[in-house]
């Protein structure tokens, strides 16, 4: 079984890497043990050093695939193939990025991804706010039934219905259009549920007070409820951005035209041309990951909120 290849079979470089990781973890453990002896001051310092060591080691392991992707995107194909491997670009080839942008059509792919994602996020927010508001503040016939129906949509993922949906899209004449890429995602049972909860979390007599002041439902929704539910709306928006931008199965089957390719599908075609353009593939992966990185850095707090609430949708 090659799955349990003994350490000796591994290349020297990887063995060194494993040894370094093991040594770092060992030192961290020793430092932790040392915290039980010695003066309080030295104990404290040893404990802190041990913690940092462990954190740095794990951060290196987690981030390594991303790091090496950036490094390889800046190397020439021959340098990527060279052994021992280059782990730091001494002469970064920035031109690979302009090549990926123009020749490999990343400009087009990213633009498509942004158009599709923007339409989906805006549409999903609008329909979820509307439905969430109706379920929270209005009385209408079959309200409870419809609420259960909305929740039930979460039980039927696209992975179950993708090919029958493809047939629908084809019969509507939407195959290979932006409509096919966006319309099926313009509503979300999860979104309606999340915003209903957010609206129900507002003080109960808020609506009565607003009604006394002569505010109709429309003004109450747009001027009171929506601004107050902003954190949940932001969380839903970010979650749906991540989900829409990262979609793979659906864009793969409803488009055939290169002009309509989203960046995720573009990556698939780029990665099949490995040897000559391997640096280009890495650069494309970096470019495709950048938008979500930017969002992660800027909106970390809201994102945590969106993902913890939103992961249920999958």
């Amino acid at each position: 079984m090659s799955a349990s290849a003994p350490l000796a079979a591994l290349a020297p470089g990887f063995r060194t890497f494993l040894w370094i990781v093991a040594a770092l973890v060992a030192v961290a453990v020793v430092l932790q043990v040392l915290t039980r002896v010695g003066s309080p001051g030295s104990r404290h310092r040893a404990a802190t050093a041990g913690r940092y060591l462990l954190l740095v080691t794990l951060a290196v392991v987690v981030v390594f695939p991303l790091y090496i992707t950036v490094v390889n995107s800046l190397l020439r194909p021959a340098q990527i193939a060279a052994r021992p491997p280059t782990l730091f670009p001494t002469q970064p080839q920035w031109s690979t990025y302009s090549k990926a942008w123009t020749q490999a059509h990343l400009d087009r792919y990213l633009m498509n991804s942004f158009i599709v994602t923007a339409v989906i996020v805006a549409g999903e927010l609008a329909t979820s706010i509307a439905a969430g508001y109706a379920f929270a503040f209005l009385e209408f016939p079959l309200k409870r039934t419809m609420f259960v129906v909305f929740l039930a949509t979460m039980m039927v993922p696209l992975e179950v219905t993708f090919f029958t949906n493809l047939q629908t899209v084809v019969s509507l004449g939407w195959y290979n259009t932006y409509l096919a890429l966006t319309v099926p995602f313009l509503a979300s049972g999860f979104g309606a549920f999340l915003l209903r909860q957010a609206f129900l979390g507002l003080p109960r007599d808020l609506r009565d007070a607003a009604a006394l002041d002569g505010l109709g439902h429309w003004s109450f929704m747009t001027r009171v409820a929506v601004p107050l539910a902003r954190p949940s709306i932001a969380a839903l928006g970010l979650f749906s951005f991540f989900a829409a931008y990262g979609q793979y199965l659906w864009p793969l089957i409803v488009t055939k035209d290169e002009r309509l390719r989203t960046v995720q599908i573009g990556l698939k075609y780029l990665s099949s041309n490995q040897i000559n353009d391997i640096n280009l593939t890495f650069a494309a992966a970096v470019l495709a990951a950048l938008p979500l990185f930017a969002l992660l850095l800027v909106f970390q707090k809201q994102l945590v909120r969106g993902l913890t609430a939103g992961a249920v949708k999958g």
Binding site: L138, T161, V304
Partner: protein, 345 residues
């Protein structure tokens, strides 16, 4: 489950709401546009009587339906109709050559497909994939979250680094690993000492493990974020009290943190299992279901049946089975685990 959502909403908007309400009540000349419905400021809207009330209720019902209608239309067209069509297509045998009429065979096709060797294989692969990815991802995410939960200078940097895989989509993660595992020039191929052998992705013994490693890494950011949010909810005074009582690091983790985290862990297990059932992108990009169908998970097998074997009848049956497994899994996990979970409220 509900409690998780409840926590996500939090007390924030409520407090802000009180302020907004005071603002509404207090200052008279708030520039409020006259609502289109209110007839006169003297007669307050919420207490109409007789026919006026009936009209008011009808208007509210209309507005309610108007607001849910856009979502309902999308669901009808892209969730419920295709689902029903799946059930229906499963009753018809797809002809061997396109153009011939499809033949009604009823539920026998369900029986045939669900006992077929291919389906059982896909089911086995999917369950293995779930077992490889869900517990590993959970434990690693928990480990990182516990380590990043310390009060240390610069800990925010580590939190960002640990969550960074969340920014990689399935395609980005898969393409990165696919390229690093390239049999000729891949760095990981070199480190694994497999230059003159088939890639780990082409070896029946290792393909599923390799796909699982990529999946665990890609989901590690999400797992870390989930666990961190759960840890944040553990009250500090509880941990301090345990420390005062002489509980060591392990005892505090085992008897305070772990029980308090159980709703989060439960949530992560449900979400992780459902996500692993739906895996497709990494299979398509890394192995295309091979070698020897060792990575032919359920979703990939549906895709393969539709687009390579042109057998939508069989595909429909597998899709219905996938739905049933998702449903059963969710319900079983909910009922079995909910009793053992310590909820905060």
């Amino acid at each position: 489950m509900a409690s998780c959502h409840g926590r996500a909403v939090g007390p924030g908007p409520r407090e802000e709401g009180e302020a907004k309400m005071a603002e509404l009540r207090g200052s008279e000349p708030v520039p409020v546009a006259p609502a289109p419905v209110a007839p006169a400021p003297a007669a307050p809207e919420p207490v109409p009587v007789g026919p006026a009330r009936r009209r008011h209720r009808r208007r509210e019902a209309l507005l309610g339906w108007g607001l849910i209608l856009p979502s309902a239309l999308v669901f009808g067209m892209f969730v419920f109709y295709p689902f029903a069509r799946n059930l229906y297509l499963g009753l018809y045998k797809t002809p061997p050559f396109p153009g011939l009429p499809k033949r009604y065979v009823g539920v026998t096709q369900y029986g045939q497909v669900l006992t077929s060797h291919d389906f059982v294989n896909s089911l086995r692969v999917t369950v293995l994939f779930m077992l490889y990815t869900v517990p590993t991802g959970l434990i690693l995410g928990l480990l990182l979250a516990v380590l990043a939960h310390q009060k240390l200078a610069g800990i925010r940097i580590f939190r960002t680094l640990f969550s960074s895989p969340v920014a990689t989509s399935v395609a980005v993660a898969s393409v990165i690993f696919f390229t690093l595992l390239n049999p000729q020039v891949g760095l990981f191929t070199y480190w694994l000492g497999r230059q003159n052998q088939p890639s780990v992705l082409d070896d029946p013994a290792t393909a599923l493990i390799a796909v699982s490693v990529v999946t665990v890494w890609q989901n590690l950011g999400l797992s870390f974020i989930l666990m961190s949010a759960g840890l944040q909810a553990v009250p500090d005074d509880l941990l301090e009290a345990a420390e005062v009582d002489g509980a060591g690091t392990w005892a505090r983790f085992r008897h305070v943190i772990l029980p308090m985290l159980s709703p989060t862990i439960f949530f992560a297990v449900v979400v992780g299992s459902i996500l692993s059932l739906q895996a497709f992108g990494q299979i398509d990009l890394l192995t295309q279901g091979g070698p020897l169908k060792r990575t032919n998970v359920l979703v990939y097998s549906i895709y393969d049946l539709v687009f390579r074997q042109n057998n939508e009848g069989r595909a429909a049956v597998v899709a219905v089975a996938l739905f049933a497994i998702t449903l059963v899994l969710t319900l079983v996990q909910l009922t079995l685990l909910e009793r053992r979970v310590t909820y905060e409220r």
